[in-house]
């Protein structure tokens, strides 16, 4: 891979063409997972635990099986044994035993909503009625809902085999301890003029994609299974399902349907192996679709966190020390993104002395999954609030404070290696120079807050093919499900290299049998890594076009040049020809042209974003209105600026929802109370202003087009930015999410009480 960055003129990249799948999406023709139907198809439903923590003593299915229309029922007895070990699967590590236990509870249920059995019947209504006839006997255990409850001495143990890296053979709920440190923390704090120390608590929140999980499984008598589903990674569904079902990977084909949002939540499996098991038992295709309540109770939200941050700065605004303790709720099985959170929490700043301790803790909540910059929004809420406070103590504008401490090329990352070319300061400068930040915010109970965020982005494996058709147009085949418009970017990259108009390039997302392995659509990696594969595949096609033209002209390939879609013979007066003119000659010059490339992409460029938010607080109710919001983000190079802006706006909106109202609300029995969009409150159209965007383009030297991932970092700053804005509006520092009206009002009243007491004390 050439490390040089293309900065030349682009013809297609940077323009805003209509997305190739657009018409299907506005006419209702696009087929999402739940839209698939097959002759003789059965409908499946899943029985779920009403208890947060209980031993399953028995499951009786006889009555349910007798209900007319019921064709099969599966429980964990139908699953093969799976190994208790760790294996790499794309962005995630996988423990097959834990995965199997999450698909169908083995001997214990570990959260409200944990799957116990699945039914296939001739209609979804009959399958649902059958669930009520399955009799499960439980021995209910005390639920362990928080990090504190899970780590106190004598806490009930969720997983009897769980051991961590520090406590030897002692059963525990702490799955892992991570530590990162550098320099001399004590000396650092000694040098500090100001020290701020606060404890933060964030609620578990959900990605909130509008499309529920779904799967159609078809098992054939020859042992071959096909799964249609909405997923971020068809190849991961294949390998994870193979683990759970004890099937060879090669016996499973996964066809990725259109996907109605994922944000990380559709990188694992829930229904897919059940659809195959039920199909195997019945001989018919079986479709399962989760209800919204099932999505909230039993898919993978992102952890609630407890984070203690202590940071020190000198009077002139230089950060000198940080001491951080963080513990994340992994859910019922190990594997929260707490390590990522730890590596990101102060990543935007140069701090010479720090120690970060991070703990992954199991609790009786659903197993968490990825959510947009996993683990980092929680972390940034804590650190960026403390930084805001330090800036205030130093009397420095919060943006200037960030710029003063910002990491630059060559500065060591938390994990050690130095940064390459990055655009953090540029995002700060962009906000500082924005019309928004320069505007004056007037009015009572209004405040402006800023915050920044960092996310690594991911590389990993991708495959791509570029086929040149007989009329000189092309198709681009990749294995990356398109959740935000990435197909448009893939077509644009191929069109740029081939010198074709983008409308002459059709992109498709292929199934697992039709393209080489491609890792999950996550980690902001599609435009970066799959884009790299597409770029290489298109270059491969160009190389072949040159060879063919050389053959036609009876020249050597190095005597042919390819520019803007036209082949030129060097030297003599041979008239140049276009791909279209050359295409009819393919049969006589060696057959069809397919460019191919597979990459395990290196050269990932991290992303930074800085966000400014204006709020107005109703001091009598604690309700917050977002008045104005602007985000600046480094995209490296924006292939399709509209969809880059879309990622920035969408992440910002999710961050605002996280800040203000979203939370998992469990009662004292560990039952989730808000299982629908009525009480799991994601922002509506009326809750948000227009979200202004500034795309910063600081090219990533590790990508041929300068691309960085853009999908995730936008969600990182808003929670802290809102908290900082609330502080400036009403004088209270919020240290928990959501900053919902009851919580904010309580803080305001407490603050008002405190200030009144102070005033009256002064008056006395």
């Amino acid at each position: 891979m050439a490390a040089s960055t293309t900065t030349g003129d682009f013809k297609v990249i940077g323009t805003r063409p209509i997305r190739p799948d657009g018409v299907d999406k506005v006419t209702g023709r696009a087929k999402f997972g739940a839209d698939y139907a097959f002759p003789g198809m059965l409908h499946g439903k899943v029985l779920r635990s009403p208890h947060a923590h209980a031993i399953i003593k028995s499951i009786k299915i006889d009555k349910a099986l007798k209900l007319p229309g019921v064709k099969a029922i599966v429980t964990s007895k139908d699953l093969p044994d799976a190994e208790n070990m760790l294996e790499q699967s794309g962005e995630l590590t996988v423990n097959p035993m834990h995965l199997s236990m999450n698909i169908l509870a083995h001997d214990k249920v570990l959260y409200d909503g944990h799957a116990i059995a699945a039914v296939a019947a001739t209609s979804p209504h009959i399958a649902e009625e059958a669930l009520r006839l399955i009799e499960v006997e439980y021995e209910v255990l005390p639920p362990v809902m928080t990090v504190e409850a899970a780590t106190k001495p004598g806490a009930p143990i969720l997983l009897k085999d769980l051991r961590n890296n520090e406590e030897g053979d002692k059963p525990t709920n702490v799955a892992q301890h991570y530590q990162f440190k550098r320099g001399d923390v004590a000396a650092g704090f000694k040098a500090a003029d100001y020290v701020v120390e606060r404890e933060f608590n964030t609620a578990m929140v959900h990605q909130g994609y509008i499309e529920p999980h779904n799967a159609v499984g078809i098992y054939n008598s020859d042992g071959q299974a096909t799964i249609y589903c909405s997923t971020q990674g068809a190849f991961d569904v294949r390998s994870l399902s193979a683990h759970v079902l004890g099937m060879p990977v090669g016996k499973i084909k996964v066809v990725p349907a259109e996907i109605g949002g994922g944000f990380g939540g559709k990188t694992t499996i829930y229904l897919e192996p059940l659809s195959v098991l039920l199909s195997k038992k019945t001989g018919a295709p079986v479709k399962l679709v989760m209800s919204r309540a099932e999505v909230l109770r039993a898919s993978g939200p992102t952890p609630g966190a407890k984070i203690k941050v202590k940071m020190g700065a000198t009077r002139d605004g230089k950060l000198v020390a940080a001491e951080i303790w963080m513990a994340y709720q992994a859910g019922a099985f190990p594997g929260s993104p707490v390590a990522a959170g730890a590596l990101c929490i102060i990543a935007p700043y140069t701090v010479e002395n720090f120690q970060i301790d991070a703990y992954d803790v199991v609790v009786n909540r659903p197993k968490t999954a990825s959510y947009r910059a996993p683990g980092t929004t929680q972390a940034a809420f804590a650190s960026e609030t403390v930084i805001d406070e330090l800036a205030e103590k130093c009397g420095i504008d919060p943006i200037d404070f960030r710029i003063k401490n910002a990491v630059k090329e060559g500065a060591p990352q938390i994990m050690g290696p130095p940064f390459k070319r990055i655009g953090f300061i540029q995002t700060c400068e962009a906000i500082k120079n924005s019309a928004h930040y320069k505007s004056k915010l007037t009015g009572k109970f209004r405040g402006r807050g800023v915050a920044s965020g960092f996310w690594f982005n991911a590389g990993m494996q991708s495959s791509a093919m570029v086929n040149i058709h007989t009329d000189g147009t092309a198709s681009v085949v990749t294995g990356s499900p398109d959740i935000g418009g990435s197909r448009a970017s893939m077509a644009m990259i191929a069109a740029e290299v081939l010198g074709l108009p983008v409308t002459d390039v059709r992109p498709i997302t292929a199934d697992t049998d039709s393209i080489g392995h491609t890792d999950v659509t996550a980690g902001s990696r599609v435009t970066f890594a799959t884009g790299m594969a597409v770029y290489e595949a298109a270059k491969d096609a160009v190389r072949q076009l040159i060879e063919r033209a050389a053959k036609v002209w009876e020249k050597k390939p190095d005597e042919v040049e390819f520019r803007d879609g036209i082949l030129h013979a060097k030297g003599d007066g041979v008239p140049p020809i276009s791909i279209k003119q050359l295409a009819p000659r393919f049969p006589r010059t060696g057959g069809p042209i397919t460019g191919r490339a597979s990459v395990n992409a290196r050269g990932v460029g991290p992303g930074f974003a800085t966000t400014v938010v204006d709020v107005e607080v109703d001091p009598d109710t604690g309700k917050v209105q977002i008045l104005r919001c602007t985000i600046a983000q480094d995209a490296g190079k924006a292939i399709h600026p509209s969809y880059v802006e879309g990622q920035m706006q969408g992440g910002t909106a999710q961050g605002i929802g996280w800040a203000l109202n979203e939370e998992y609300f469990y009662d004292d029995k560990g039952t989730l109370r808000n299982t629908g969009f009525l009480d799991y409150r994601i922002p509506t159209c009326l809750d948000l202003p227009m979200i202004e965007t500034i795309i910063v383009e600081e090219p990533n030297p590790g990508h041929p087009l300068g691309v960085r991932g853009v999908g995730e970092v936008s969600i990182v700053p808003p929670v802290a930015a809102v908290a900082n804005a609330i502080y400036r509006a009403v004088g209270v520092r919020m240290t928990q999410t959501p900053m919902s009206p009851p919580k904010l009002l309580k803080a305001i009243l407490k603050h008002r009480g405190a200030t009144t007491t102070q005033h009256s004390a002064a008056a006395d």
Binding site: H125, T621, G622, K623, R673, L678, D679, R681, T684, P741
Partner: protein, 289 residues
């Protein structure tokens, strides 16, 4: 959902007869925006849904300056919020109807259905109560009228007996120098259920309050007529002290719970805040009438 039967009678007699035949196993069905969800979730069970939308008595929306308002139980909320007559004479009830769910919900849900669902958080119920509305009920044993404040008996349960049907709501004509208002508190700006709702109707005599009614939603097991809160301002000028007193009395009338929508403590505070705000709005409107 379990299997159900569906009927769509076109006359009151037919409806009552079907409801009587099936007794406990039948339920009137209107906009469906609550009951379909409840049947799906298994929190309510019924064998027969009796769709009452085709009965013309339930679709009446008429206003008479002397007799007041007749509001058929099946009139969708959207017709109320789009009605100039309603906005002029009953602005509080109109805004309550306008607050229910999204436009998609308002096109289906009715004020009568909102009442029969028996939720303590129903937005239109306090708005009806403050107007002195009465519910006209028809059943196998004839007709009866019940004041709206007595209609809901516990969460999800009403005075309707098996076989009975709410036909219409009768609302007195507004007195001179009077008006009404309704405010609710929700965490977002749309799509939520009231954490607290407060309705008020005020009649002025010069700058003093001649008559008033205040009703509360989502702060007890049923909608609450807060008479003591109204008593606190009757005969008074609506100044800050009077508003404070009304707010305190309204809070005192509540018995809220902690839940995912808010803590009891929060609800008590918000009840006082909204009572002050809604009284000011109602009084401003009354001055113009």
């Amino acid at each position: 959902m379990h299997a159900i039967n569906y009927d769509a009678p076109t006359t009151l007699d037919q409806a009552v007869s079907i409801l009587k035949t099936h007794g406990e196993n039948a339920r009137p069905f209107c906009g469906g925006t609550d009951i379909i969800i409840q049947l799906r979730a298994g929190v309510r069970r019924t064998e027969h849904l009796v769709d009452v939308k085709k009965i013309k008595e339930l679709q009446v929306l008429s206003f008479d300056a002397k007799k007041g308002l007749r509001l058929g139980a099946a009139v969708p909320c959207i017709e109320i919020s789009e009605s100039d007559v309603m906005r002029r004479h009953y602005p509080g009830l109109t805004e309550a109807a306008h607050l229910i769910g999204s436009l998609q919900i308002q096109n289906r849900a009715s004020v009568g259905g909102n009442l029969c669902n028996g939720s303590p958080a129903a937005d239109t119920t306090p708005a009806l109560i403050v107007l002195g509305a009465r519910a006209r009920i028809v059943g196998p044993n004839g007709e009866r009228e019940v004041p709206v404040e007595a209609f809901v008996v516990s969460p999800g349960r009403t005075v309707l007996k098996p076989g009975e049907l709410l036909v219409e709501l009768l609302v007195p004509a507004p007195a001179p120098h009077s008006s009404d208002a309704y405010l609710r508190f929700i965490p977002r700006n749309e799509m939520d259920i009231a954490v607290v709702g407060v309705g008020a109707a005020v009649t002025l005599d010069g700058d003093k309050v001649k008559a008033a009614r205040i009703a509360l939603a989502a702060v007890g097991p049923t909608p609450i007529l807060a008479s003591k809160a109204a008593d606190a301002i009757i005969g008074m000028k609506l100044d800050d002290a009077a508003l404070e007193a009304a707010g305190r009395a309204a809070s005192a009338a509540c018995s809220p719970i902690d839940d995912m929508r808010g803590t009891a403590e929060f609800r008590l505070h918000i009840t006082a805040v909204l009572t002050r705000r809604v009284l000011s709005i109602a009084a401003e409107r009354a001055k113009k009438n």
